[in-house]
């Protein structure tokens, strides 16, 4: 929104496809599938279909960028912040299902725009966007694009900042009340109700606040408290360094997942980690064991929901959720106490002793 509104697009003229759902896939994506084993990528057919066929408002442009790398908070501390190659290539792959026989975009009068963007290399982004969008937006200048990109990054920073602040408030409340919260370690698309199936919402209903690793607070005081000892001991160079657990730190989301495990293991009030992954995710496979072991070593409960696809296995989710809450109720107090004892003094959430 930051980028588009800075270009002068009226916010009311920006349409997002709705949350992923089985219905969406069936109504708009059926028969447009392409060969891809990644469930979230498959879902994109439904989203495109909804935008092309399912709008009252006439759309001019379908914007679906191919994102090569992401501006992760770990950037600079890890080798690279690349996206998953399947996700990056998805716009090209999914497009095929819409132009194979007839050009469905052209028929609907829609320009299909898929800029290739390196969001972790901000200086390259104006050039990348200008080159792909100048045709769709006649009269667009390079300078204008540059300014809009800056606005976009600013909006993204503000957004992350707001959410990290909210997460911090949750943690402060937990510390004050000595209450447990849960942290979800998953990929960003698991926040979509059609992909993550709102499994964490069922847990929330039992009275546990839910944090997501992506928006964990990263303020200095907290990071020093959590990782200071490791830095001084020379295990890691900074709070965002994950070389101690994941040397091949190339993938942005995978890096964040491993970092999430480390931070969850350290924060006393995170009594339980819920791990989600989609059907046969090749990026997630190698992370299962390290993440589990990092979390469990600290005594934190760990439950994983793997191979999620289109159907929410309601019966088994219900049983799992009841299982998790049973153990949380039974052990959360002990876990918090044990983790507190393992951490140094000076927790920024607690009044100084």
């Amino acid at each position: 929104m930051g980028f588009l509104t800075a270009l002068g697009v009226d916010p009311r003229n920006v349409v997002f496809s709705s949350d992923t759902s089985e219905e969406q896939g069936r109504q708009f994506g059926k028969g447009r599938g392409t060969v891809d084993c990644c469930y979230p990528v498959k879902c994109i057919s439904g989203h495109y279909g909804e935008l092309v066929f399912g709008q009252k408002q006439k759309l001019d442009i379908l914007l679906s960028p191919m994102i090569y790398n992401l501006p992760s908070f770990l950037s600079g501390h890890v080798a690279k912040s690349l996206t998953c190659p399947r996700v990056m290539a998805a716009p090209e792959n999914i497009k095929a299902g819409f132009i194979k026989e007839q050009d469905a975009f052209a028929e609907a009068g829609i320009q299909y725009v898929t800029p290739f963007v390196s969001l972790d290399e901000p200086l390259l982004v104006p050039k990348q966007l200008f080159e792909t969008m100048r045709e769709a937006l006649p009269g667009l200048t390079y300078e204008e694009t540059g300014r809009a990109v800056e606005a976009g990054f600013r909006a993204l920073r503000d957004f992350s900042h707001r959410l990290r602040k909210k997460s911090r408030e949750v943690l402060e409340w937990c510390a004050r009340e000595n209450r447990a919260c849960l942290m979800v370690i998953a990929r960003p698309y698991h926040m979509d109700p059609g992909i993550g199936h709102e499994i964490e919402v069922d847990l929330q209903a039992y009275g546990y606040p839910i944090l997501w690793m992506q928006y964990f607070p990263i303020d200095d005081d907290l990071m020093q408290w959590a990782f200071g000892e490791d830095i001084r001991a020379g295990h890691i160079k900074s709070a965002f360094d994950i070389r101690d657990v994941w040397p091949s730190s190339y993938s942005s989301n995978t890096n964040e997942i491993l970092w999430g495990a480390k931070v969850a293991a350290r924060i006393p009030w995170i009594a339980c980690v819920v791990r989600m992954s989609s059907y046969e995710c090749g990026m997630d496979q190698p992370t299962y064991t390290p993440v589990q072991q990092i979390v469990e070593r600290s005594g934190t409960l760990f439950f994983s929901f793997q191979d999620l696809d289109s159907t929410k296995p309601s019966g088994s989710v219900k049983i799992r959720v009841e299982t998790i809450t049973h153990y949380l109720e039974k052990y959360a107090g002990t876990i918090i106490a044990k983790k507190k004892a393992a951490m140094p003094a000076g927790c920024p959430f607690l009044p100084a002793a």
Binding site: G31, K100, K166, V201, H326
Partner: protein
């Protein structure tokens, strides 16, 4: 010179004899898994009835069962899709999409016009029963719809219901549920046709549009009128959605089911055969095949078989001494009477039985009993509590419930806690075996695998996607051989060798068994083989657990199916094959594990020092309740419309349900039964509103960052406005 095309499919054999471009003879018959025998019979008939001559006429085979048979008679093998495509190309130049549905497979072929001719794209699946002819027939048999009637049943205009399109066995279960709720058989069959077309379009189009003209081939497409209607409906809808130009023609006229739909593979064989060099495919007579049918296959049997379940008397003796033990008895009569003080009561309300156990304050098992479920949970509970009381226990220190009935009955009985099944089983296992790593519970209709870490159930597999691996199947086969389930193990241990059955789909396993049977494998050998394949189905196919070693080294087996020692032997060998140092234990109270676990949890609860809410034996025995089954109790959450029963129980302090369509005065509590899924436990939209409102309140108090992310990220305002 005559050309012969023979198609050996998964359920039928089809053959065509052609001379000078004219069909001289054709027939198709079901082979009932005796493929070679049926081919032999056909060859003999073609020799006498159509003059098929040895050393002169030419024979071409195709189909899933042809690979082994073709070389026996000098025939050349042609891949089935290639054969069908060849025939279509010759006879129907305008066809762009072909669906061929067989007994146990399905194929689609897309033809696209290119500069010089037509290019083909072929998709096929034969691993799963979803979308095949067996899928329809199996359920139709269960519904007792004879073949002739099935062929005539319509699709158009029928109300459709949700039937699993993925698995034949689940479709059957769905159909059963629909029957129970009074859905007419015709509507269920129409729903099956819907499911087959959906499955074919969903899995075998891969981004292509089935464009006109369309050809439907294979037995199911030819014989089932309803299936044809379903295709017409879906294709016409698809064409109008995709705005295909039909040249002003009616969509229905663009979908053809030729009278020879069964013989396209045979005709294609001949088409291709005619282009082959003259020395290819010359008929060598049927002697070699005859020898194989009569003797060869039995010799082959001995070679291909695996060793039996036991590797000899020594192996069996070791196994028996380790595992076959009398169940440790519960304390009987006198010891029970001597027990003083409050006891812990655990009840497991399952879907077929309800069980109760009594533990002493020191967690010692004192008594257990069960009641077969009669469909009214209140009566089941009353029966259990009467037994407990008659056994002499009066002082209940704490009561916990588990099983599906736990939430229903918690308030009515005054239970101190409801314990989820996984926790109950894990608690029971850890009580007897504190170092347990994995619990494998195989019941009659389900498989549960629980992986324990840190004293909790860290991972859990419930077989709900596929029926493969449960105990009902073993029982079915034993019944077919007229062998009592108790005698299963002894008979299976007698087998010195056994066939290897294929892991996976239960529907296909059935035909695999018939196949092995006709190869001469005896009842005990097949029973041994079935026990041997069960662990593979349980752990790998249903449980999706490839790496047993990562799960741990101490395995607890429980659940009714593990009373069968042949299964236990197979499990032990399988697990030790994967985890050589594994310790495999048979739970001594495997049927009562859930109730014991609940009682143990009740014990934990009691240590907090609270007083039990148990309502007392008298109150439970004297519970006043009314049952209502009416239009107002019908579940409206999905089109199945379960006819539920509301059991209203008089309970002091209960809130009642004034908002309900079947209003309930304060002082009464409602228990809902007769629903087929958990959704039905919520009465209607009114109750949903009450539940939702409560939930929203909780959600406000305990935030979820993902919700904030969604709200914030997709806000349609300018960035500047957000910043302010």
């Amino acid at each position: 010179m005559k050309f012969v095309g023979v198609d050996v499919g998964s359920t039928t054999v089809k053959a065509v004899v052609m001379e000078d471009g004219k069909v001289g003879w054709q027939d198709y018959q079901r082979h009932n898994t005796r493929q070679a025998e049926k081919v032999l019979e056909f060859l003999a008939r073609m020799e006498t009835e159509a003059g098929l001559a040895v050393g002169q006429d030419r024979v071409f085979f195709t189909g899933s069962g042809a690979g082994f048979i073709a070389p026996q008679v000098g025939a050349k093998l042609i891949q089935e899709v290639v054969a069908v495509a060849a025939c279509v190309e010759r006879q129907h130049p305008d066809v762009r999409f072909v669906s061929e549905i067989g007994g146990e497979d399905m194929k689609t072929i897309f033809f696209t016009a290119t500069g010089t001719g037509r290019s083909k794209q072929v998709y096929m699946q034969s691993a799963c029963s979803g979308g095949t002819g067996t899928f329809i027939e199996k359920t139709a048999r269960k519904l007792q719809v004879p073949g002739e009637r099935l062929a005539e049943l319509p699709y158009a205009g029928m109300a459709l219901h949700k039937v699993s399109s993925k698995c034949g066995i689940f479709a059957e279960t769905d159909a059963n549920t629909l029957v129970k709720t009074g859905v007419p058989v015709e509507e269920i069959i129409a729903s099956l046709f819907e499911a087959v077309v959906y499955q074919n379009l969903a899995t075998l189009t891969k981004g292509n549009t089935p464009a006109p003209e369309v050809l439907l081939l294979g037995g199911p497409n030819l014989f089932f009128k309803g299936l044809q209607e379903a295709w017409r409906h879906h294709l016409a809808k698809l064409w109008s959605q995709r705005k295909l130009d039909l040249g002003g023609r009616e969509p229905a006229s663009l979908i053809n089911i030729p009278a020879e739909a069964l013989y396209y593979a045979c005709l294609g064989c001949i088409e291709i055969g005619q282009g082959e060099k003259p020395e290819i495919g010359i008929y060598q007579g049927s002697d070699k095949l005859k020898w194989w049918v009569e003797e060869g296959q039995h010799e082959a049997k001995a070679k291909e078989g695996a060793r039996g379940l036991v590797a000899g008397a020594g192996d069996l003796a070791t196994f028996v001494s380790e595992y076959v033990k009398p169940v440790p008895p519960c304390h009987v009569g006198d010891s029970r009477a001597q027990h003083v003080g409050a006891v812990l009561l655990g009840c497991d309300f399952g879907s077929t039985t309800a069980k109760a156990v009594v533990l002493s304050a020191d967690r010692e098992l004192l008594f257990s009993c069960y009641a077969l479920s009669k469909g009214n949970p209140i009566e089941d509970a009353q029966s259990l509590f009467q037994q407990v009381r008659e056994a002499g226990f009066t002082d209940v220190g704490a009561l916990a419930l588990t099983g599906y009935g736990k939430d229903l009955l918690k308030d009515v009985l005054g239970a101190d806690m409801g314990v989820v099944e996984t926790v109950a089983h894990a608690t029971a296992a850890l009580h007897f075996y504190p170092d347990a790593d994995v619990i494998c519970d195989v019941g009659g209709t389900d498989v549960k695998i629980m992986i324990l870490r840190q004293g909790t159930v860290a991972d859990f597999r419930l077989n709900s996607q596929c029926s493969s691996g449960n105990g009902a199947f073993l029982q079915g086969v034993a019944e077919r051989y007229n062998i009592k389930l108790e005698a299963y193990a002894d008979r299976a241990f007698e087998a010195k060798a056994m066939p290897s059955l294929t892991m996976g789909c239960g529907v296909f396993l059935q035909s695999d068994i018939v196949n092995q049977q006709r190869k001469g494998w005896s009842a005990e050998e097949i029973m041994a083989a079935l026990a041997a394949v069960l662990p593979v189905n349980v752990w790998i196919y249903a449980g999706q657990l490839q790496n047993l070693r990562a799960a741990g080294r101490k395995f607890i087996l429980q659940g009714g199916t593990h009373r069968n020692m042949a299964v236990v032997k197979a499990q032990v060998d399988f697990i030790r094959g994967k985890v050589p140092d594994a310790e495999v234990v048979l739970h001594p109270y495997s049927g009562e594990a859930g109730a014991i676990g609940a009682a143990l949890c009740a014990g934990d609860w009691r240590t907090r020092g609270e007083t039990s809410h148990f309502r007392g034996f008298e109150t439970i025995a004297a519970l006043t309740y009314t049952t209502t089954t009416s239009a107002g109790t019908v579940c409206k959450w999905c089109p199945i419309n379960c006819t539920r029963t509301f059991i209203d129980v008089q309970l002091p302090g209960a809130k009642g349900r004034e908002w309900s369509k079947v209003p309930l005065a304060p002082g009464w509590e409602r228990v809902i039964s007769g629903n087929s899924c958990p959704k039905g436990l919520v009465e209607d939209v009114n109750e949903m509103r009450v539940v939702k409102a409560k939930l929203e309140e909780v959600k406000r108090e305990y935030p979820n960052v993902a919700e904030m992310v969604r709200k914030d990220a997709f806000r349609r305002v300018s960035a500047a406005a957000v910043a302010e």
